[in-house]
């Protein structure tokens, strides 16, 4: 079964068809929530099959990480918008963002080369998975921030805060797992590289958001704006630094 799945995936048309079908389902998600589940199922199946093909989690290189981020957005968007009225109006912009990341992943060639031994460890995998889960949550928070400015409502601002707090928790845990990995791999839990510095900038930015929100002046629009601005810092930390700067995290 595993071999037949791998040979099926080696045919380049099958993964592409899965991705395109997933995009179509997400577009149809505006009409029926069922299509969102179907699209996510296809994304999960694609990730699972890549994992089987590679014999590890597909979380290395821009193709796999962008796809993972796209799927993570939907994974968290479904439960986090569950209690909202007119749920689809919140879900749809999130699905659009997920589609953008999914299509962007197609620009890059999948990283099919075996990993260097330094990357074959639980700590690395946990570091990456937690980081991308938090990126997904920060993305959702930013989109909700955009919706807040269009539709208003305290409920959206509170939801944005909760999502950022959860993302901050996962991001912090991801940084700590990364530190443990770095200590075991390189003998230090901290490296002075642009990526590490940007990671701290992102972490500090959301720390600022969480503290600022406690003050009256920052509550409401200013804190929602911070929640949106965080998305751009996150995108630069993830893609900008990895693609533009020399770093231990370069793709």
């Amino acid at each position: 079964m595993q071999d037949s799945l791998i040979s099926l995936l080696n045919n380049t048309h099958v993964p592409l068809a899965m991705i395109i079908l997933s995009v179509v389902f997400y577009l149809l998600g505006y009409f029926r929530v069922f299509f969102i589940f179907a699209g996510f199922l296809l994304q999960a199946l694609y990730l699972f099959s890549r994992g089987i093909q590679l014999g590890r989690l597909p979380i290395v290189g821009p193709h796999d990480t962008l796809f993972f981020l796209s799927a993570s957005i939907v994974l968290f968007a479904i439960p986090s918008t569950g209690k909202l009225k007119n749920r689809r109006q919140f879900l749809y912009p999130l699905l659009m963002l997920s589609i953008v990341f999914m299509l962007l992943s197609l620009v890059y060639k999948p990283h099919d080369v075996p990993l260097t031994p330094l990357l074959k460890t639980f700590w690395f995998e946990a570091h990456i998975v937690l980081s991308f889960f938090s990126y997904a949550l920060f993305s959702i928070a930013a989109i909700l921030g955009g919706v807040f400015f269009i539709r208003k409502g305290e409920q959206i601002e509170i939801l944005q805060y909760k999502i950022i707090l959860t993302g901050y928790c996962l991001f912090s845990a991801g940084m700590i797992f990364g530190g443990i990995w770095a200590y075991l791999a390189w003998g230090t839990y901290w490296l002075w590289t642009p990526k590490e510095l940007w990671t701290v900038i992102l972490w500090l930015f959301y720390s600022l958001y969480l503290h600022a929100r406690l003050r009256k002046w920052w509550a409401g629009k200013p804190s929602v704006t911070l929640g949106i601005a965080g998305f751009f810092i996150m995108m630069f930390t993830y893609l900008g630094v990895s693609l533009l700067m020399e770093s231990s995290h370069a793709f």
């Binding site: 330094l118 791999a185 510095l197």
Partner: protein, 241 residues
């Protein structure tokens, strides 16, 4: 007395925390763009931070000095705010909701302590070794590299490497170990890491000896910080349901 009171008031203020974080953000933002452009930063990994700061001109290092100052103020601010919060709300019924942010703050302070210790007393040395090489370590131990291995997978890609080592003190055998990627050997406060190997023309390995005095505190902080956030999240969920 009034001046001291005013200083304390400033340090107990959330507004101070926000301004300090904002200042730190700006400094790090500047540093993140400058760092890749200056070659002086290339050897920042090879020596303790404070030693590197003293060896390099202020025109390059000023933003790190600034960040150290702001972080110190932030540490004092965090500590004082936490103490004040515990004293003021000690009679609260929701004890966990009171303690959770303080656990997060304690984690942050432990992480800062870790960086402070490592910035002062860390050590790092890198060298090539061959089979039979004896290295003298700063902790008085000698280490002998007996065998260097490389593993290939079925496609011919390198899947791992390792070296068998033995420690001696004043000529007497202490213990033996195997070092491989992500699996260093720790002995008397020093870590022995194998970075890479080459088998041609003869087996050789790039090894690193390092001491991170802040590692344990970083781990303590690393447990406290997300632990506190998880408690906070759970408490918020319980309060709502």
């Amino acid at each position: 007395m009034n001046i001291l009171k005013n200083i304390l008031k400033i340090f107990l203020s959330l507004r101070t925390s926000i301004w300090l974080m904002l200042t730190l953000l700006i400094l790090l933002f500047y540093g993140a763009f400058v760092m890749p452009l200056k070659e002086e930063f290339l050897n920042l990994h090879s020596e303790p931070l404070f030693q590197w700061l003293l060896e390099n001109p202020l025109s390059i290092t000023w933003w790190i000095w600034g960040a150290v100052l702001v972080v110190s103020l932030l540490a004092a601010n965090t500590l004082l705010c936490s103490i004040e919060s515990l004293i003021k709300r000690r009679s609260t019924r929701q004890l966990l909701l009171l303690i959770a942010p303080q656990i997060i703050h304690a984690g942050f302070l432990f992480l800062l302590l870790a960086h402070l210790l490592s910035s002062h007393w860390s050590f790092k040395g890198t060298t090539f070794v061959f089979q039979g090489t004896i290295l003298q370590l700063p902790n008085g131990l000698d280490v002998i590299f007996d065998e260097i291995h490389i593993d290939l997978d079925r496609w011919g890609f390198v899947s791992g490497w390792s070296a068998n080592i033995r420690y001696f003190r004043e000529g007497r055998y202490v213990t033996g170990d195997v070092i491989q990627p992500n699996d260093p050997s720790f002995q008397d406060g020093l870590g022995m890491y194998i970075k890479t190997v080459q088998m041609m023309p003869f087996p050789a390995a790039l090894v690193e000896v390092s001491r991170e005095p802040g590692a344990v505190w970083a781990l303590v902080g690393g447990v406290c910080f997300p632990g506190g956030i998880i408690i906070l999240l759970i408490m918020k969920i319980i309060r709502e349901t």
